[in-house]
């Protein structure tokens, strides 16, 4: 029976070793950067604005907060956010978070009530300075302006009523700074359908940016990361409604063609294109106050954009916007307006890129990242695969963008954070772990 003892021994040894299957451990390292005091400057993206409002849920998954969570492995001393005290949320228009609701056969984002008291909160604490200085609505210039130009999101947590975002950052003597600003320099114009003002001029943008970075990064020790802004056409807000999404049957097409008989007679007389409908997909009818036709309406062209809020008014019938009734001008970006936005975005891109080079900052080309995602969205690939799932810029179902069509879901925010981390690792030979994107939520359905 000696043999049996050996068998028992062999069995126990094997069972013991079985308990310890190996892992391959990740070894974090800060490389050439010091992440002790990390401060984030920016706009609503930095603040954690999502689903059309600022609230605790979005703040907790703001991309700088996610980055800071990963920086904890490489010496970060903690990251304080100006968290909303209530359980509510509030957006620039005074409304709360958007939620998907069932509207007939489809789903529609509907805003909840906004908690205006959030604007009156003071969350500043001199003993625990705020590291996330993201201010919804901020432009490059407003980061330098006293009280961020009177922005109520800033007055919640600013150190005093006359300080600027940049000053409040410098007071903390940051060792590492992230700066992602500029989208509002075009968005203010774009969200209004291009009817008011103009994008910030490239020169003015370059001046503001130059001042910001010279103040932030003059101290030789301070390192940082800077990011480009996405093209608006890569945001669902401007891309969710395709120009030719009016899908009708022959009967409806006949009715509409009859209704435009008089318009088309004028078109022929003036040598302008007629408004015509067929069964299937049709270009929407939009208002255009500068159009030569006396009716001041026409069908939209391929490169022109319809803004997301028009969604609730569009029907695939003769009633609703875009068929018998034109989509109003403030819901449309025409070709000229799109051009203005594009040329401003391109100029900002060059400014940001040259700043990154000049100051040796980590450079996150989010413009290219978003472009790749949106190109793959419409290709066979239907998005970019990350950690087991595909993400696209498709509104609602793409997983990346929240219900406001501009800002990210929590998971989208983690994906952005990982883009920052990749750039930081590359620039500073660091080894910061990526955030687990699947641990963050995405759009929720009723």
């Amino acid at each position: 029976m000696q043999k049996n003892k050996y068998i028992v021994l062999f069995l126990s040894i094997v069972l013991f070793t079985q308990c310890e299957v190996e892992y391959k451990d990740f070894k974090p390292s800060n490389g050439e950067a010091d992440f002790t005091t990390y401060v984030a400057l920016g706009d609503s993206y930095t603040a954690g604005y999502t689903d059309g409002a600022l609230g605790r849920r979005g703040q907790e998954s703001s991309f700088p907060n996610i980055i800071a969570g990963q920086l904890a492995t490489v010496g970060n001393n903690g990251f304080t956010q100006p968290l909303v005290k209530s359980s509510g949320s509030v957006g620039s228009a005074g409304l709360g978070y958007l939620d998907l609701e069932i509207a007939g056969q489809s789903l529609l984002p509907v805003p909840g009530a906004g908690d205006m008291a959030i604007f009156a909160e003071r969350v500043y604490d001199a003993s625990a300075p705020v590291h996330n200085l993201g201010v919804p609505g901020a432009t490059a210039a407003s980061l330098l302006a006293p009280a961020a130009g009177g922005n109520p999101f800033f007055s919640r947590f600013s150190s005093n009523q006359t300080t600027s975002v940049v000053i409040d950052a410098l007071v903390q003597d940051p060792t590492f700074v992230s700066l992602w600003i500029g989208i509002n320099d075009v968005l203010g114009f774009a969200l209004g359908g291009g009817e008011n003002g103009a994008p910030t001029s490239p020169l003015q943008f370059a001046n503001s940016m130059g001042t910001i970075v010279s103040q932030l990064f003059t101290d030789t020790g301070t390192k940082g990361v800077i990011a480009t802004i996405p093209d608006i056409k890569d945001l669902p807000y401007f891309d969710a409604i395709s120009y030719d999404a009016l899908e009708i049957d022959q009967t409806t097409a006949d009715l509409l063609n009859a209704a435009y008989t008089q318009y088309n007679a004028v078109s022929v007389a003036m040598g302008l294109p007629k408004i015509e409908f067929v069964a299937g997909k049709n270009a929407f009818v939009i208002a255009d106050k500068d159009y030569a036709h006396l009716g001041k309406i026409r069908q939209i062209k391929k490169d022109e954009k319809i803004l997301l809020p028009a969604l609730g008014y569009i029907r695939n019938t003769e009633t609703g916007w875009g068929s018998k009734t034109p989509i109003p001008v403030e819901y449309v970006l025409d070709a000229e307006e799109v051009d203005k936005i594009n040329s401003a975005t391109e100029a900002y891109y060059e400014t940001i890129k040259s700043i990154a080079n000049q100051y040796g900052l980590a450079f996150v080309d989010l413009n290219s990242v978003m472009k790749e995602i949106s190109e793959k969205t419409v290709s066979e690939d239907k998005g970019v695969a990350m950690d087991g799932n595909k993400y696209s810029s498709t509104f609602v179902s793409g997983g990346l963008f929240s219900l406001d069509g501009v800002h990210f879901t929590a998971r989208g925010s983690a994906i952005i954070a990982n883009e920052f981390i990749k750039a930081i690792n590359k620039q500073y030979n660091a080894n910061i772990p990526q955030a687990p994107i699947n641990s963050y939520g995405t759009v929720t359905y009723p």
Binding site: K3, I7, F10, L11, V14, L15, T17, Q18, V21, E22, Y23, K24, D25, F26, P28, T73, D99, L100, I102, S106, L107, L108, A240, L311, K382, G383, V384, A385, M386, D387, G388, N389, K390, T394, F395, V396, S397, G399, P433, Q434, A435, P436, N438, S439, G441, T442, V443, T444, Y445, P446
Partner: protein, 408 residues
């Protein structure tokens, strides 16, 4: 808003953890103890599986053997560029076998085998990072093999068996759709089928000391038709994922060609080698054909791109006394899965198996067979490119087994 398009990446099916791919190589305690060699050995009724050609040359008139194993397996995942780590919580697998052989005439023997050469259970935590690829899977295939073996000459035997395969799969995966209640959507895929193949072998006793064997087990196409795909999704998406969705899918059980040699060094000591070639290239793609399709629920095509592999096996047997025989062996099992197609549902890696065991004669007719197999996976950093899911996999398995044999 009829633009909701969800790429439902229903990957999956197929599993592993005992042998590479989703083969299970513990088909008899005696053979398992010898590194799962046996193509050129006369180890009794288990030749029904290893080489039906050897059956006609067996010494006994009756040989019945029955046994089973416990597969205690564990796999770890360390995500690429991340602190994230996970470990499976696999249920204990219980492969089993029964072989019965009867000599009908001097030249003819018949047998019946029932075993489980493919299958497995693999379970990650429900909320783990790879849940959109797989949460858990249970793949089962029971092979019933009636077999005839003919002695061509005193040195040469030929046998063939019909493989009747009863297979089933049950898997769960999460879908990246979240309800307002915080629950994530998920799908359960469940189907079963019956398929057929054959097992043919030649056994050649070159001399008293030297033997050779060649065995071919054919590919079996497990075609599942009308399996159930049960979607659990937020109520507003119910129409996009119909309640009674069915699926068709096909999973190939690959063909195996094994060449073996046996050498009786002396009366007490026998050595065996097997070279097993597995035609894994049969597994190029896994397609789930859903019925009905909706704009959100398209058919799911998942590239697999498996490659043919070779398993190298070595085994030894030593007769200690009239009552006791001890055995030992080892093997090296190559992974059929290319670096960019390693999916956590079948996290393949090269594996080294070490085994040992013994048979103890309880009486003249009854013997007790035991084996233990220890498998270590060689750490593999790889991933599944179509879903961009990468990391390092490690695995270990301990497989004790016991069986009884009755001969006369």
């Amino acid at each position: 808003m009829n633009r909701l398009i969800f790429a439902v990446l229903l990957a999956t099916l197929a599993v592993n953890s005992y042998a590479e791919g989703y083969q299970v190589n513990v088909q008899s305690q005696k053979n398992t103890a010898m590194g799962h060699t046996g193509t050129a050995l006369m180890l009794g009724a288990s030749s029904i599986h290893f080489n039906p050609g050897a059956l006609s040359l067996m010494e006994k008139t009756y040989d019945f053997t029955l046994g089973g194993n416990f597969v205690l397996s564990d796999i770890t995942f360390s995500k690429q560029n991340s602190m994230y780590q996970a470990e499976t919580n696999n249920p204990t697998g219980t492969p089993f076998y029964f072989y019965g052989a009867v000599r009908l005439t001097d030249r003819l023997a018949a047998g019946l085998g029932v075993n489980t050469p493919f299958g497995n259970s693999l379970a990650w935590n429900k909320d783990w990072d790879g849940r959109y690829l797989i949460q858990d899977i249970s793949l089962k295939a029971i092979v019933v093999q009636p077999t005839l073996s003919f002695k061509i000459s005193d040195k040469l035997g030929f046998g063939v068996g019909a493989m009747i395969v009863f297979g089933g799969v049950d898997l769960n995966k999460a879908l990246p759709l979240m309800g307002q209640d915080g629950e994530e959507a998920h799908v359960n895929i469940n189907g079963s089928t019956t398929a057929f193949g054959f097992n043919a072998g030649l056994y050649f006793q070159a001399s008293d000391a030297l033997s050779f064997g060649l065995d071919y087990r054919s590919k079996v196409s497990m075609k599942m038709e009308g399996g159930d795909a049960k979607f659990s999704v937020p109520s507003s998406l119910a129409a996009a994922f119909p309640a009674n969705t069915k699926f068709d899918a096909e999973l190939p059980l690959p063909a195996n060609l094994t060449f073996g040699a046996g050498l009786k060094v002396n009366e007490k000591f026998t050595l065996a080698v097997d070279l097993q070639y597995v035609f894994w290239d049969a597994y190029q793609e896994l397609v789930f054909d859903f019925e009905p399709n909706t704009p959100q629920l398209e058919d799911s095509k998942n590239p697999r791109n498996y490659e043919n592999t070779l398993i190298y096996r070595l085994g030894a047997e030593y007769v200690v006394s009239k009552k006791l025989i001890v055995r030992a062996g080892a093997y090296y099992d190559e992974t059929p899965i290319p670096d960019d197609f390693v999916n956590p549902e079948t996290p393949g890696m090269n594996k080294i198996g070490v085994s040992g065991g013994a048979s103890y004669m309880l009486t003249n007719n009854w013997s007790l067979d035991a084996s233990i197999l220890y498998i270590t996976g060689v750490e593999r950093e790889a991933g599944y490119q179509p879903a961009n899911f990468y990391g390092a996999y490690n695995s270990r398995a301990i497989i004790p087994g016991i069986g009884i044999t009755y001969t006369f």
